[in-house]
């Protein structure tokens, strides 16, 4: 619609710089994580090696990298499952008017904009007052859900706003029970979006820091472990860990995109 004049190329250049700004620093620490054994936290590279990655898996390393990774992974999977189920239920409910719907919606949005430190402190205090020990699978799980669910609910909201109700009515006219209509018509149509919600649930939980910090109890999640490392580790092992966990996050994103693309292809293949 625009003529590709100098304005267009100036904007394109600005966008390219923005992408460089977004990804440049991460690419830099990936490169620096391959530092030689004598290398430091900044350039120049003193040789190229896998020394710091090997260092990461040695026993004497500060902190509990393997344990915190296992906890973060388990927590992210639980949060993912719960986020999908709860957001789907709420998404279905919000299609109709019910008493308290508006309050619930605003409460969910509020969960997004209440400062993370308040959630963290509040949950920590609640467990303290109740005399319960905070743990990653209880208090931190709840803290993560306050962060993942608003995104899940907003995605389901957008999905059902665009959903063509005629399809469900057609299924009903053909004699489908409500459950059959849901299982065979609604679910396949919203499946890619549900996978998107799952991706958000997993990734946001796996990387969550601010809401977890006072709600994790004695066993750290991975982001807490990494944060603790930043204060006492001054070698590229920090970058090695950063590169690995970022690669893991990106691998999840790529896997999800591929699955959704494959589903879409299968969907169009069935169509005449």
């Amino acid at each position: 619609m625009e003529t590709r004049g100098p304005r267009h190329w100036a904007l394109a250049a600005f966008f390219a710089l923005f992408v460089l700004f977004l990804y440049g620093p991460t690419v830099t620490i990936v490169i620096l994580s391959f530092q030689g054994p004598d290398g430091g936290l900044t350039f120049p590279m003193r040789g190229v090696s896998l020394h710091w990655f090997a260092n990461l898996f040695q026993k004497q390393m500060v902190g509990d990298f393997a344990g915190s990774f296992r906890r973060s992974l388990a927590l992210a999977l639980i949060v993912m499952g719960l986020t999908v189920l709860v957001a789907l239920g709420a998404g279905l409910a919000f299609r109709r008017r019910f008493f308290g719907a508006t309050a619930l919606f605003y409460l969910t949005i509020a969960s997004l904009i209440v400062p993370s430190i308040l959630i963290s402190l509040g949950i920590g205090l609640m467990f303290n007052v109740a005399g319960l020990p905070p743990a990653w699978w209880s208090s931190a799980l709840g803290a993560h859900l306050t962060w993942t669910l608003p995104f899940g609910v907003l995605i389901m909201f957008a999905v059902f706003n665009r959903f063509d109700h005629a399809l469900e009515e057609a299924a009903r006219d053909l004699g489908a029970s409500p459950w059959q209509g849901f299982r065979h018509v609604v679910l396949p149509l919203i499946a890619p979006s549900l996978i998107g919600v799952a991706l958000f649930g997993f990734s946001l939980s796996y990387d969550e820091f601010a809401r977890t910090v006072m709600a994790a109890g004695s066993d750290n999640t991975l982001p807490l472990e990494i944060f603790a490392m930043t204060t006492n580790v001054t070698t590229p092992v920090l970058y090695a860990l950063g590169s690995l966990t970022t690669a893991f996050s990106l691998a999840i994103v790529v896997a999800v995109v591929l699955v959704v693309l494959a589903m879409r292809r299968r969907g169009t293949a069935h169509a005449p």
Partner: protein, 312 residues
């Protein structure tokens, strides 16, 4: 509300055959249909109630409590608020946090608006639009802590920026203010949160009728007039949503300020976190209530200026 027949998921129960035998299941079906939204939304109520509402009520309660020898004593005193509100540190910290919020807001808005504008009006193919948009959104799914760490090689004393500046002859000694400074804090904030501007602004821009712009152009409007009279006004809801995100994130932040300023800069969140580390829970709770009130006031003010209901 339960008397209205509902379509959608359980509608079939309502549409059951009208013979006498079906009366009972039909009534039951109708009751189920009326109860269904409550059952479906119950889990969300539970999570938000237990992990958002009760914790905030706990904070409010504890802000009136006393603590003796690190144990909480339920009572009703105003000392915590007095301590928070009469301390000079509180006010200077709020001032510096508000300054961060203002600078980061201006920067993320300028960058976010430009990026969203490019994506929605200058990228022609829908496929490329999606690909480039995702490219901007993906970092959101990676770790904030690591994205902050990744500035060290750039901003450090021997970092890329200092070496470049020295090579260019801009300076003859490494600039110390790059890492662990307010500058680094702002840079990290902009790096982390511009996305929260790009996404809502892009969404509203994509909904602007393209014929409107063509009509304006046909009527003789130049690119600046189109931007000023059509694109900016119609993007306001997206700008407001992005503003709410960025402002609330910066106001409540403690990680970024702690990591990027190396402890040399203060923020309200960091001040709270320090009180919590000292186990001064009631004072931290009072601080939290004041912060929550401030943030809600700011959100309310933004919503007074721009109506975002169309976006929800």
């Amino acid at each position: 509300m339960s008397s209205l027949p509902r379509d959608a998921l359980t509608g079939a129960a309502i549409a059951a055959p009208p013979d006498g035998a079906a009366v009972l299941p039909r009534a039951r079906g109708r009751r189920l249909a009326a109860a269904l939204p409550y059952l479906q939304s119950l889990p969300l109520w539970l999570v938000m109630g237990v992990f958002l509402l009760i914790p905030i009520l706990t904070i409010v309660a504890v802000s009136f409590w006393d603590d003796q020898e690190y144990a909480l004593v339920p009572t009703f005193i105003l000392d915590n608020y007095r301590e928070v509100l009469t301390s000079r540190v509180t006010w200077t910290t709020y001032l510096s946090t508000l300054r961060y919020a203002a600078i980061v807001w201006a920067a993320t808005l300028a960058i976010g608006f430009t990026v969203a504008y490019f994506l929605s009006f200058h990228v022609r193919s829908a496929l490329w639009q999606m690909v480039l948009f995702q490219l901007c959104a993906i970092p959101f799914l990676t770790s904030n802590v690591i994205r902050m760490i990744s500035w060290i090689p750039f901003l450090g004393r021997n970092g890329i920026l200092n070496r470049t500046l020295m090579a260019l002859g801009v300076t003859d000694h490494p600039l110390e203010f790059l890492l662990f400074s307010p500058f680094a804090v702002v840079l990290a904030f902009v790096h982390l949160y511009t996305l929260f501007m790009v996404v809502p602004i892009f969404n509203t821009m994509m909904r602007i009728e393209r014929s409107l712009i063509e009509a304006a152009r046909d009527a003789g409007a130049g690119p600046v007039a189109v931007l000023r009279h059509i694109v900016v006004p119609l993007s306001l809801p997206g700008i407001a949503i992005g503003t709410i995100f960025v402002v609330t994130l910066v106001m409540g932040d403690f990680v970024t300020v702690q990591m990027m300023s190396g402890g040399q800069s203060a923020s309200v969140g960091l001040m709270m976190k320090n009180q919590i580390s000292l186990l001064q829970y009631p004072v931290a709770a009072a601080q939290a209530v004041v912060l929550l009130a401030t943030v809600l006031l700011m959100v309310w003010a933004i919503l007074r200026v721009v109506d975002i209901r169309r976006e929800l």
